[in-house]
């Protein structure tokens, strides 16, 4: 009887509903990764930080949707993915950005971005179609497993791996072009 009552009242720590404050601190700890993921989807660090900020604010507004015990990082990456796609749609509607596949534009280079390796990989990423870029960002940049990446992107694993394979092929081609082009 007493034991039953105790068991009923027992709340396992991990399944306890995280308070807003707790989630806030956990998000703070994840900010470096969120910025990296955002950077791999954006043209420069400033846009990346804007994206990260939108994702964080959206996450806090919808924090009741977070299942305590679930992976907070995956949840946040998923929110960022949606925020990024929303932003791309909005920009495309306003005619600000041509679709990357048919545009010859170059990413804005900010002083913080001048490291050639970041610049050239970022430029090559920018040429990928959105779905391939997301797959590459999750698996190659963030080092997620296929399973986690598929969950974040809300697609079946088979879809993820085919996007990843196509993204890799295109990236490898873009990066070797650039290497050939840079040769004297």
């Amino acid at each position: 009887m007493e034991e039953n009552e105790l068991a009923g009242r027992m709340i396992h720590h991990e399944s306890m509903t995280a308070s807003t404050e707790e989630i806030g601190e956990l998000i703070v700890a994840l900010l470096p990764r969120l910025r990296r993921f955002a950077r791999s989807l954006s043209r420069n660090q400033h846009d990346a930080d804007d994206l990260a900020q939108v994702a964080v604010e959206r996450a806090l507004r919808h924090r009741e949707q977070f299942r305590a015990g679930a992976n907070l990082a995956s949840w946040l990456f998923g929110i960022m993915k949606n925020a990024w796609l929303d932003d791309r749609r909005a920009r495309a509607r306003r005619g600000e950005v041509a679709l990357p596949e048919d545009s010859g534009e170059h990413p804005v280079v900010t002083p913080a971005d001048t490291s050639t390796s970041l610049w050239s990989v970022s430029e090559a990423m920018n040429k990928l179609p959105e779905d391939q870029r997301l797959a590459v960002a999750c698996v190659l940049v963030e080092g997620m497993s296929y399973k986690e990446a598929a969950e974040v992107l809300e697609i079946p694993i088979g879809t993820l791996t085919s996007r990843l394979a196509r993204g890799r092929t295109a990236l490898a081609a873009a990066l070797s072009d650039e290497r050939v082009g840079a040769a004297p």
């Binding site: 720590h13 907070l72 990082a73 932003d87 306003r94 394979a165 890799r168 990066l175």
Partner: protein, 248 residues
């Protein structure tokens, strides 16, 4: 044995089971073409990961830290109404419906707390690290939570232990305050680690009042505590049991 590109990609990504991995590793030794294709996958993976990894070491802009704490930052909700909307910068088209400019202004009012608490996570000598989506105590904080007794601690200790207690779900938690970082919090011993479910700003310097934790920590204690806080004898006993409620 022929392998398709998807299999080699999965190999490079560490997605194959041990048997398949061993098989391909063995095949690579006698098949230079296979080894070359795998090396290409690995190089690309390393290059892409390496290009973005420096971002992890950059200082995180305050506006993001503030946004993450936004909903609970002290005074934030009350002050929101007074925040001045900054004009959009001419060089940038209006982008997403940022509330960034508001947050930027708000940052000024709460930046102190944000910066101080950020020190906890500084890469040089972190007192707290993120592990599997949870904050965990490290370094001096972890050892103080392990060893220090509230009844015997001295003013010079960098970590001040407040209350120790048992939770309703059978763990030990201890409130703490960092003398120099202006941060107080709660550490809960779960599976051999001190998890930090809450941290908050606290006064720096004089810790004689530390017996009374800040409101946010008190609230976290009240949400968890079973019965009463441990007395000095109970605290010592819990330490001897390695802060494991099943070993007393």
């Amino acid at each position: 044995m022929k392998y398709d590109d998807d299999t080699l990609m999965a190999f490079a990504d560490g997605e194959l089971d041990a048997a398949k991995r061993a098989e391909i590793t063995a095949a690579m030794e006698t098949d230079p073409e296979l080894a070359r294709r795998i090396a290409q996958h690995r190089e690309l993976r390393a290059r892409v990961a390496g290009a973005f990894s420096p971002v992890l070491d950059q200082a995180v802009p305050d506006r993001l830290v503030t946004a993450a704490r936004g909903a609970t930052a002290p005074g934030a909700t009350q002050r929101r109404g007074e925040v001045v909307q900054f004009p959009a910068r001419g060089t940038r088209p209006p982008g997403l419906p940022w509330r960034g400019r508001e947050w930027g202004a708000m940052a000024a009012s709460v930046a102190l707390g944000a910066i101080i608490s950020w020190k906890l996570l500084s890469p040089a000598d972190p007192l707290v690290t993120a592990s599997n989506g949870s904050l965990v105590a490290r370094g001096a904080l972890a050892s103080a939570l392990d060893r220090q007794l509230a009844s015997t601690q001295v003013e010079a200790d960098p970590v001040r232990i407040g209350l120790s207690f048992e939770t309703r779900d059978g763990h030990f938690c201890r409130s703490f305050q960092l003398r120099d970082a202006g941060t107080a919090g709660l550490g809960c011993r779960i599976e051999g680690e001190w998890h930090i479910p809450v941290t908050t700003e606290a006064a720096t310097g004089d810790l004689r009042q530390a017996a009374s934790p800040p409101p946010a920590v008190l609230q976290a204690i009240e949400a968890r505590i079973s019965g009463e806080a441990l007395d000095p004898a109970g605290e010592e006993k819990a330490r001897e049991a390695g802060w494991d409620t099943t070993r007393r």
